[in-house]
Amino acid sequence: MATQTAERPADTHTPEAVVVRFAGDSGDGMQLTGGQFTLSTALAGNDLATFPDFPAEIRAPQGTLFGVSAFQINFGSRQINTAGDAPDVLVAMNPAALKTNVEALKPGGLIIADTGEFTKRNLEKAKYESNPLEDGSLARWQVLAFDISALTIEAVKPFGLGNKDALRSKNMWTLGLALWMFDRDRQPLIDWLEAKFKNKPEIAGANVAALNAGHAYGETAELGGHLHQTHIPAVEHEPGLYRTVTGAEAVSLGLVAGAQLAELPMFFGGYPITPASAILHHLVRMKEFGVTTFQAEDEIAAICAAIGASYAGQLGVTSSSGPGIALKTEAMGLAIMVELPLVIVNSQRGGPSTGLPTKTEQSDLYQAVYGRNGDAPLPVIAASSPSDAFEVAIEAVRIATQYMTPVILLTDGYIANAAEPWKVPDPKSFEPFPAKFLEEKNAKDADGNDELLPYRRDAKGARPWIKPGTPGLMHRVGGIEKHVETGNIDYSPANHQKMTDLRRDKVLGVAVPDQEVALGDETGELAVVGWGSTYGPIRQAVRRWREKGRKVSHIHVRHIWPLPKNLGELLAGFDHVLVPEMNTGQFKTVLRDQYLVDAQSLTKTSGQPFQIAELEAAIGKYFDGIEGDEGGEVPANKAQLPEPQSGYDDGTLKGHHP
């Protein structure tokens, strides 16, 4: 819990939670450092949440402000739901990383900086007029600056690497220091390095040496009061087997599990796009589960091939992010028309158009619920965290195959990339839902002869799934309006009316569990209604107000369409409804439309997740006695990841700054 730390002085030796941010050049290996630190944190039994943030450029020019890559982790001995608001510790590998991140650091927080990189040239690139490590401008914080570059070169000397290669181990040196600071075991990381560089023993050796040197430095150097060891006790977790999981991993595992529960081979059609590609990368490694992956020529071909595979009797899946989803839209309409199962995963990013490819947003909700030509309804469900994505993916497969419909699964860039500990589920705890294929004709004609009616529906409104290759069941399907039972072309007015109604009713009839309250009572003064990755900050903000005795509840909606049947009634039990979203109020509009409820919107569209403090402040407006100041827009936050400087400006809107 981030505020707990925010309210404590940074040098408390046993805080309940700590936020550490690693920042460096995009070539410095900060994401890897963060990932390995995450693993060691998980192994130490802490709960955690992470926020990887990297520039859209693969190798932005070295030392520049917009080339800074950062990784934030919040870990503690109690439940952690967000990556934390403000860091307690900032590791800055160069001046640009310091400049772009230091404002976020808590007062009194610790800066660890590599003086070896604070050269005149790098200071200029970071637009520093004088060296901040020397000019007193960092007085608000504790500064621990030493020449990590030189120390690394010294440590890896026995391996005979050139300076350039030696400096690549800098991140391991830093990680070693961080591991010492938080009393972490180095061995799992050493094992990992040795396995990773199995064929390059000198690289493995250099990295291990750098890691050990960083660790030893913490242990032996006399660093005054700044640096000390902090032990964060393990959190009380439910007993069981745990691992860390990112949203992209969890979606992939959930899809595979879903296909197994449906007893279907799975076909995945994808096209490279940030931040969705990770799902393709995970699934290509799961082929023993009957998974076929197909990297198509474009987004359209990816979904069309997946529909083709569903038509032929497999579970078709496609995945993309906003712009790619837009391209797939026409094909989704066909899947709705021919009523075939299909799962479409959208890892949302900032938009419109190319927008912010590496930043997160929830702005594709309209696109998912409404964004197709014609009356084209389909179920939409949303994952609320990396680990939740596993169950949501299974649910998507279940709905798609049981109702013969495409389903959109919404995640976002934050969920896709962020990691959290996950209690490994027992596959047996999920009820199987085997897919059924029609094997013989399903009706009798007027003369009593067997007849095939490809669009005759079951009690759920689903038509039969008929695999080509089945003897005697030849039939034709397509995107032209079809007869209500035979599926033959039928443009007649009454038929189109009927088919439009049937398609709508089928989707509205999807069995959705009743909405539960995530935190708080079922009635009260204020319901804070969220969906997707805002779960963590909303939960923490609501908890804090509840601790102050306010009648606030957190409702988090997984089933975006159709909505849970009791949701309208549930919302009616609250005086006010606030809907925080990382968009301009899309779910709010859906709720207003469906329930005529006076839902207020709290929006944030800076490509940054909500911070707990921001939500806490927004909730507070309901109890401040001032009428009409509720809801509104949360501005871009200079102190938060992604920092404004990771774009191409200095964080102000030129000429328009208030």
Binding site: L241, F267, K287, T292, F294, A302, I307
Partner: protein, 344 residues
């Protein structure tokens, strides 16, 4: 095509109960009949046959063939067909497209299905016009085509379907036309080819682009204007009085006169369906100066995409057990008993 047990059917078995809705006199009728005549000869099984199409006049085709059929969306039929073949490689898939569907909106997918070499038959009905949208010029319309969108005549240079196919990496390229009696033979050759088989079928649009292929397709003068290619046979036409030779210096094909049937003396070349260089020349032969090259222009199989996908999947799965519990618990894990965490 696939090695399936031949099934005995008749033309009637391949007709659906649906009323055919093309304009009277449309070339599509003749193609439909040719296909329905060919399928029994191939021993095809209706239950194992899938016709996949995009959008346009030609793409209504699946509704009229008593097999499995999927009328998809504009230009994307190759992508659907790829998914179908990867999900079930045993299905015999015929893809039906047109010049607009296959070369304009769907040009990208056509290119990729050919280069990947998915094992299916692609029939591109080329009528050089957009029929279903009422007569706009298409990517194969000749320069100067007057249409509702080009009242002064079109000025886009036309695409050449067979050259496009060959350039995309196709290993089988053939040509025929709607009313040709040879069309079933071309279809059979395409079916026999393992891999993506591309067939351009000139098709007369009676309403919007009437008789544009008459120069070579009309019975009158057919001999002089049609060069039917056959593997291992000399490239002769016009009753054997003319032939095609290779100018070895200019590296181009020429028409030569053949006297008294002595084609060898005239230097006429023998068609070799595996000769890719000659195939490149054949697909580019300008009609007028040359007859229309028809039949199998090129046929040199390579391993199919499905085979590679299956092989790769087997390789990737080798020695791996499909154990979900193990998969979920993969990577660096730890167990929690009470509060202590132990690395696994």
């Amino acid at each position: 095509m696939n090695d399936m047990t031949p099934i005995e059917t008749t033309l009637k078995d391949w007709e659906t109960d649906q009323e055919v809705r093309w304009c009277p006199g449309c070339g599509d009728y003749a193609i439909l009949k040719a296909v329905q005549r060919t399928l029994p000869q191939l021993g095809s099984d209706p239950a194992n046959t899938v016709f996949v199409s995009g959008i346009g006049c030609s793409s209504r085709f699946p509704y009229y063939v008593e097999s499995y059929g999927f009328h998809t969306i504009h230009g994307r039929a190759p992508a659907f067909a790829t998914g179908i073949k990867l999900a079930n490689p045993d299905l015999d898939v015929w893809l039906v497209t047109g010049d607009g569907d296959g070369l304009s909106i769907g040009g990208n997918h056509l290119m990729h299905v050919l280069r990947r070499n998915v094992n299916l038959q692609i029939m591109l009905f080329n009528n050089e016009i957009y029929g279903l949208t009422k007569g706009q010029f298409s990517p194969t319309s000749r320069l100067g085509t007057k249409s509702p969108s080009t009242p002064l005549g079109s000025f886009d240079r036309p695409a050449q379907p067979c050259a496009f196919a060959l350039g995309s990496g196709a290993r089988f390229v053939a040509r025929g036309f709607d009313v040709s009696k040879n069309l079933p033979d071309v279809l059979k050759a395409a079916h026999a080819h393992q891999g993506a088989a591309f067939i351009e079928i000139f098709q007369n649009c009676i309403v919007y682009n009437k008789d544009v292929f008459d120069d070579f397709a009309a019975p009158k003068g057919a001999e002089a204007h049609q060069l039917w290619l056959e593997d291992g046979q000399p490239m002769l036409f016009d009753g054997g009085t003319k032939g095609i030779c290779l100018d070895r210096e200019a590296l181009e094909l020429r028409v030569v006169d053949v006297v008294d049937g002595d084609w060898q003396a005239a230097g006429v070349i023998v068609h070799n369906v595996k000769n890719r260089s000659i195939a490149h020349m054949l697909v580019e032969l300008p009609f007028g100066a040359f007859p229309m090259a028809l039949g199998v222009l090129y046929d040199d199989p390579r391993p199919t995409f499905e085979a590679a996908v299956i092989e790769e999947r087997a390789r990737a799965s080798e020695g791996k057990e499909a154990n979900l519990a193990k998969l979920l618990g993969k990577g660096q894990t730890w167990t929690v008993s009470g509060t202590a965490a132990d690395p696994v």
